[in-house]
Symmetry: D2
């Protein structure tokens, strides 16, 4: 086991295991890995929990970065709280996906919440996150209000009788070969609408809003608008995603006007357990102030994703 003199001692490159995340064949974000807590093949994917010197612990699925302890709040707080705040007093919440448990964690902060159903397809991912990512779930899996269903959200959506105040789509990979692409189509947005209470709100992570990669986001907004009377896109900058990330709210009832910052601050103080990291009244307004180029990209888009024409890999339509 020979070795040339180690040129890197003290330079930080001693940690020479890296995650290389190819956003496209033309760009890759490389994150150094200092420790591998778990790396295994599950029934559905390869999963890893690794430690990054910069970003803390991170979940990796099929070799792609999912979220990390250093900045996951910039994803999970916007994913959860705006929908909950606009609803006002959500009691029953469904989470599609969300394996890390961080989405459930934010939902369970709400005093009004009585029941959370989380449906994730990969029980091994959930178990390993539960074991290795307590900073993410913070005990959410032990909360008696949470029912965890290991199963396919596609099947669950079609058969469930219950109705929810908020449904949160926290899924990865809306691609043809992926397990979840159907959940990004008009047909399944209609199924989601079916399981919402009349005043219910649907929120989903909705892809990058980078100007070089915005087609998926724009089409998801168009697809939502084919099903719901009211849709609001918004976005949050998540550094470890290396690009600003889009979300969308959808409902049968109007989603405007937005409450003013003071009203949001009051709701946060009274309805939510513990302080939030990024979200307060001011930040809430900021999330919804969509830059003009994003609104124009959505306006110009007319494609609606259907089961016949679902999202595909970017080498096809989405670029």
């Amino acid at each position: 086991m020979p070795q040339t003199p180690d040129t890197n001692r003290g330079l930080g490159h001693g940690a020479s295991l890296w995650i290389a995340d190819y956003g496209s064949p033309y760009e890759a974000y490389h994150y150094a890995v200092s420790d591998v807590l778990v790396w295994k093949r599950t029934e559905y994917q390869t999963m890893g929990v690794v430690r990054s010197p910069l970003f803390g612990k991170a979940l990796i699925l099929d070799g792609k970065w999912q979220s990390c302890t250093a900045d996951e709040f910039l994803y999970h707080e916007p994913l959860v709280h705006p929908a909950m705040i606009l609803h006002g007093a959500p009691k029953r919440v469904a989470i599609l996906g969300g394996g890390e448990g961080a989405t459930a964690r934010e939902v369970l902060r709400w005093h009004s919440v009585e029941r959370v159903v989380m449906i994730d397809i990969d029980g091994q991912v959930v178990n390993e996150c539960r074991r290795h990512l307590d900073e993410m779930h913070q005990g959410a899996f032990d909360d008696p209000r949470l029912e965890l269903i290991i199963g396919d959200a596609v099947d669950w959506l079609k058969t469930v009788d219950e109705r929810f105040d908020v449904v949160i789509s926290d899924l990865s990979e809306p691609v043809e070969q992926g397990p979840s692409f159907r959940l990004f189509t008009r047909e399944y947005f209609a199924e989601t609408r079916r399981v919402l209470e009349p005043r219910g709100i649907f929120v989903l992570q909705a892809g990058s809003v980078s100007p070089v990669d915005i087609t998926l986001h724009a089409r998801l907004i168009r697809t939502l608008a084919a099903v719901f009377e009211h849709v609001r896109p918004f976005s949050s900058a998540v550094p470890s995603f290396a690009q600003p990330w889009g979300f969308a709210l959808a409902s049968s009832l109007p989603l405007d006007p937005l409450p003013d910052p003071d009203a949001v601050d009051t709701i946060v103080a009274e309805c939510i357990n513990g302080p939030l990291e990024m979200l307060d009244g001011e930040a809430f307004i900021g999330l919804f102030m969509v830059p003009a180029h994003i609104r124009r990209a959505i306006d110009r888009e007319h494609t609606v994703y259907t089961l016949e024409q679902p999202p595909t890999t970017y080498t096809g339509e989405t670029r």
Copy 2:
């Protein structure tokens, strides 16, 4: 000149020249380069203008990504227009740095602007940008209102007698070894204040606002606050920087309340030549709605950069 069978044809990896931008020893953003328009050593640095399949043409200084045609508007519009809008009718504007000419381009859109002084230390960079990056400058260097000074902004600031409505700091590298670190200290912020009209506004690019790299930003805000009565931080997500970017306005006069979106839309329509890409009334509000964790990071910070204790490399204090 042998070669193994080309495994990459059609996979996008044919372009195997890459810019590797190490934000730290623990993360690197890699951009594929399909063409090198210019690569040369100037008196001050190594400069390149390259083409990226994803991000268009980009300027590289000392091997580090500066800006690119695909998303530079997400940097240059926030850098220029909020200060101009808050002023209302700027006539004289100074730009420290700004070699690509894109900052000057945005300034010169304003009908009220009568004179722009741009001071950049590296005439070769300016010349090559002028030659290869017309998408960036769009003829700004030929506008008779622009005076281009090739020189050190440090010297210029200390000796100039003129007064300006807006001063824009578009400088790179506030590090000890860099040419510009002094321009990020209390002493030079005071010099900048000296060259402002009484109602004048100073704006500067102010570093990353990523939660893992926010110290520089927080200290710059603190340093501005040691010199100016009123300071407002704001931020914009620039995908090719791989992280949200911070800015700051500073003035002797109050910078609030912000105009409402309709008022901003009116100003943009009446005072600015041609449509903007990202900025309108809604986006303007969004820029200033700072997430709570950034405000807290600034509140917690007490260090002020001075000539004796200037910004240094991140391996020292800034992390």
Copy 3:
């Protein structure tokens, strides 16, 4: 043009332009680039001449490393001299490819050589190498014994009437889509044989001999053996190729026994102008002492490349 504090000053990563050479999707060799001397699109390919802090000046074609001044002698001396030495007194030599001029340089060292014909398809590559890689060609292009033909070696081989003592195949990319894949088939090896003098020797670069990537090499040896009575594989370790490289001699006449080291030293001293870098009698013997696993890989292989079944990209047959 903002920038975070430069973390890399003095760490060697200041040179953050890199060549990333993907030998396969599973391995890549990254070379830092400190200067780009030329980067342009020719009629046939994208070419670059870059400077590497470690490997000197290098030629890059279609984004792939070809050769560099620091170790090209480990490729070009084995490519040229063994065939010439075994011939003894070569007068007329043909070079297929060889754009850098380094193969011609080695051939022209031979006092016996009266005429060299070099056929390269890309005149712009040859011109830029002539201009920027004088360390490689060392004036070979100005030697009156050299005739440079810019054209397709496929056509030249089919039409030329002349006969040669040595023919050297210094071509890249024996892949279906590449310009040269036909020159690696039985049919064109037969054409090559046609242009050889009866005692003539054909030598070609013949791919990697790494155990994980040896199929191309083994099939080329088998294909040569389908045309020539006598074939000898050999190899040389070229560090900038990141793997040991294979070659082959082929002839109608026996290629053994090898001359002993002293005889080679005498030939080198008497027949060749100037000292060689790596080759003398001892090294000559070493080139031909093929490790057992390579001989076994050749023995096990039975595929012969033809125009109907030429070499293809590795994702197909060659792995």
Copy 4:
């Protein structure tokens, strides 16, 4: 846990965990990792056993590639057998380092071997290799002829009374900060000589022989020559090291002339259990035919490593 459409399915980049091995700040070899079998911090270092799609299972120490199942025979057969063959009938063999067990495996193939002492400092590395790298050790650790000592070879060498026919130095990192740099000095080569039988042979892995990185090798040869009357350098191309690797034999008795190929073949057939991968009579000769530039580099070198002036990192003397 959002994700952009997976651009890499089927492209081979699905495996986006990589080992990045920086030979220097100017070059890095990146290996894709498809599985992490173990990754842990031991008392001495961080160790990993990973699977590479191209190179099989590999041992990683402190983030640096050590050896892999696909080509370790190109390192371990040259490390072990030439010394054993030149000795003729080794009975007692000592191995300094050699955690994977592959060096012991090759030694134990010899029918004449009665006793092997292997001294490795890191028991956890040995245990994990034993558990996860059976392709490497192939049961060597269970051979009753092997005594495994977990300890510092420096201490062992100074105190051991036994004498050995062959001593094999299979150590990593001859650098000032590393645990083993002392074992690459004149003083410890003298200790090694002390534990050799009069006809005994010492062999060590002796660094890269790439022309851009040959100083360490040349100095090790010079240091051996300061202690032993007879020294023979040799080399083998190991693709996963991305460069040809040097070794050296040292003895009080002459190491030449080399046996001829047929004699080696006879020894291999009669004295060694089972077929070898790369080594037979022909390959044996090839190992010792050192290219001229390597011999010149050794001739030009005069530095001898001592405890006062040991090998240091390459940023200092060794380049």
